[in-house]
Amino acid sequence: MTDTLERAALRDVTRSVLADLATEQQVREHMDGDGFDRALWAAMAQVGLLGLAVPEELGGSGAGWTEQSVVHEELGRTLACVPFLATATLAAAALSASTDEARSRWLPGLAAGTTIVTVAAPAAGSGSWYDPPSGVSAESSGPAWRLAGRLRYVLDAAVADLFLVTADAGGTVGLFAVERADVASVEPVATSDRTRRVGHVVLHDSPAVMVGGPEAVLAAHGVGVTMLAAEQTGGAAACLERSVDHVRTRVQFGRPIGSFQAVQHHCANMLLRVESARSAARRAAQELDDPPGPDADPGVVSRLIAGSVCTEAYLACASTNVQLHGGTGFTWEHSAQLHVKRSRGSAVLLGQPAEHRRALRASGKVLVGL
């Protein structure tokens, strides 16, 4: 119960920061800029939102992923332009599973909001997290490494200070850290979802530090899918709320369209999606903090179900939201399009629903128990 209260307080803090700094108008200004709201980022750092997953001794609050998921859900509602998924979640998770040196070197800056860190997909060439690692090679000269390769669709590449990169170090795969200054070039991508940017990163004889093995990347992916699921749940819930607000007041044929059964049932179906997504996302986050079993990857079921169900919920709710708004929902000026684009982007960012389900089948845990 105390946990519940603390989470409610965290939600209030997050909402209040976002209500000040991430109104739709503010979000749209950053969409037209470089897609990074530095003021909001600083404010989030200030109230401690960037270090929830960082231990206290490294400048964070060590709160846990359930708390982190609350922030993601709120960010998903507002589509605020911050590199939270890349830095506070993916990079924090990858660094937490890395060497002590790496942790103490970068996590404090990460929690303070001064170092923006991103993680590239292991399959650098495609940018897909489910394709096998490939595309970047690492060569060593003593303890120093040099990386070469092209990393596609790297989250927040244009604003990152540090890149965590999977590379083939002569037969074994390792995780490496590359400073911004050592990157050959970053090519921004014109993204459909302008509230979340990606870019291609070129490494060429780039100095790098080995910080961990492939397990760190796997851990980051697992956490990322779970936190993204919370974000998607927030997005889906926002679509439902916007739709409900609209259909209660929009009058056609002499009455609010929300009194038409077809509209009511669309909204009811959105509610079914949102409630299911919320269940899956919460359970997956809880199981990151409190693993349900002793085996190697105890949370795999909840995580992959959340990845699949929350993605599909957001896709469906974003589209229904347009449909219920009619032509207006199809305009650039209306918020509905922002969710359509975010939902589509999120559906390919860390794996597609079909890929999550395939991994679920491959886990051997389907139908093993309830």
Binding site: L240, V244, V247, R248, R255, P256, G258, S259, F260, Q261, V263, Q264, H265, C267, A268, N269, L271, L272, E275, S276, R278, S279, A280, R282, R283, V301, S302, I305, S308, V309, R357, L360, R361, V366, L367, L370
Partner: protein, 370 residues
């Protein structure tokens, strides 16, 4: 946790009446004897009518404990009570609307299984629209009532001792309805089984031909029928989670049958994963509902009825593909289940009505004209 362990131990050691099996919410004719004995055993050990307050002889258990009990009974393959109608519907109604004499007369006999109740609400012309009930109750000079009409979809009517009746004692609309206690062996009561599409007869038609009821058989006051009827809605929600146990087993059966009949291909495997995800979502949503609080009229509980009935129906319909040509056989359990699946989205409130309820009561959309 302690409670659940106690329950498990009790279920392992309690004497089981011969022939007892998990017959669902209502016993068939052949299940009644074992069901009554089982209810007596439950009462003896403090597991009867868990949600009843102490003043009426119940243990006043928490929602979580009620849910755990239902689930452990499902796992153990026993019913959690003789029948849903007495403990879940009639008990709370009598506590709220009944006279002290009625409470005195009926509650203890419900608790220990001496009385089996049935529900006399639906009529051929009043299915989804209960307010259209046409069975007439006419007050006689001596204060007694004469009842005439037809009820339908009454389960256990052929075995029940008593029925809770909704009849029209006044003018049209909800305000003209009253609720009564009907001894099922009263003169003028005729029960005729309804044959379902699967050949079974779980339901009955009940004809009331000038049945005479005493003045003290009105529940509460004349005209309170609509309030009584509404109070019974949604009472089954707390046991919905236990359905996940049965559905999980039905997916296992489905997979086993498909393998046995050589039909377990990739496409069906994918559908099985989808079905299992839906059951997992039901289960996790139900746990979340219990965690979040005790209000069964809230959003989380409200979506469960729809998730449950539509998931049951869709899993049942997969049986045909799992059997291949063997699905031509009447006696295949999966064929029977497919047929029964067709009732899930109708009885207890059609899916259409449920969606409208979600839209209007949970989302607050304007009422559709009716």
């Amino acid at each position: 946790m302690r409670f659940r362990e106690d329950v498990t131990r009790f279920l392992e050691t309690a004497p089981r009446p011969a022939g007892l099996h998990d017959y669902g919410p209502t016993p068939s004719h052949g299940d009644v004897r074992a069901g009554r004995d089982w209810q007596a055993t439950l009462a003896e050990h403090g597991y009867a009518c868990l949600h009843w307050p102490a003043e009426h002889g119940g243990p006043d258990a928490s929602v979580a404990d009620q849910a755990a009990f239902a689930e452990e009974c499902a796992r153990a393959g026993v019913p959690r009570q003789l029948s849903m109608v007495g403990p879940d519907l009639v008990g709370p109604v009598l506590m709220r609307f009944g006279t002290p004499a009625q409470q005195q007369r009926h509650l203890a006999r419900i608790r220990d299984g001496r009385d089996l109740w049935c529900q006399l609400f639906s009529e051929p012309g009043a299915g989804s629209d209960l307010a259209a009930v046409a069975t007439r109750a006419v007050e006689r000079p001596d204060g007694s009532w004469q009842v005439r009409g037809q009820k339908v979809w009454t389960s256990a009517a052929d075995s029940a001792d008593l029925g809770i009746l909704l009849a029209r004692s006044g003018g049209p609309g909800p305000g003209g309805l009253s609720a009564f206690v009907v001894p099922m062996r009263s003169p003028g009561v005729t029960v005729r089984p309804l044959r379902q599409m699967d050949g079974e007869s779980k339901f009955n038609e009940v004809f009331l031909d000038d049945v005479v009821l005493g003045a003290d058989q009105v529940i509460g006051t004349p005209g309170a029928g609509w309030a009584v009827a509404k109070a019974t809605l949604g009472r089954e929600r707390l046991s919905l989670g236990a359905n996940a146990v049965g559905m999980f087993e039905s997916i296992v059966e489905l997979e086993t049958a498909a393998a046995a009949h050589g039909r377990l291909d990739d496409a069906l495997r994918d559908q099985i994963v989808e079905a299992w995800i839906r059951v997992w979502l039901m289960r996790v949503t139900w746990e979340r509902a219990i965690e979040e609080g005790t209000d069964p009229s809230g959003s989380t509980f409200s979506v469960l009825k729809l998730l449950t009935s539509e998931t049951y129906r869709d899993i049942a319909d997969l049986g045909i593909a799992a059997l291949g040509p063997a699905a031509l056989e009447e006696e295949q359990p999966l064929v029977k289940r497919m047929l029964v699946g067709h009732a899930q989205t109708i009885l207890g409130g059609t899916s259409e009505i449920q969606r409208t309820i979600l839209a209007e009561r949970i989302l607050g959309l304007p009422r559709a004209p009716r």
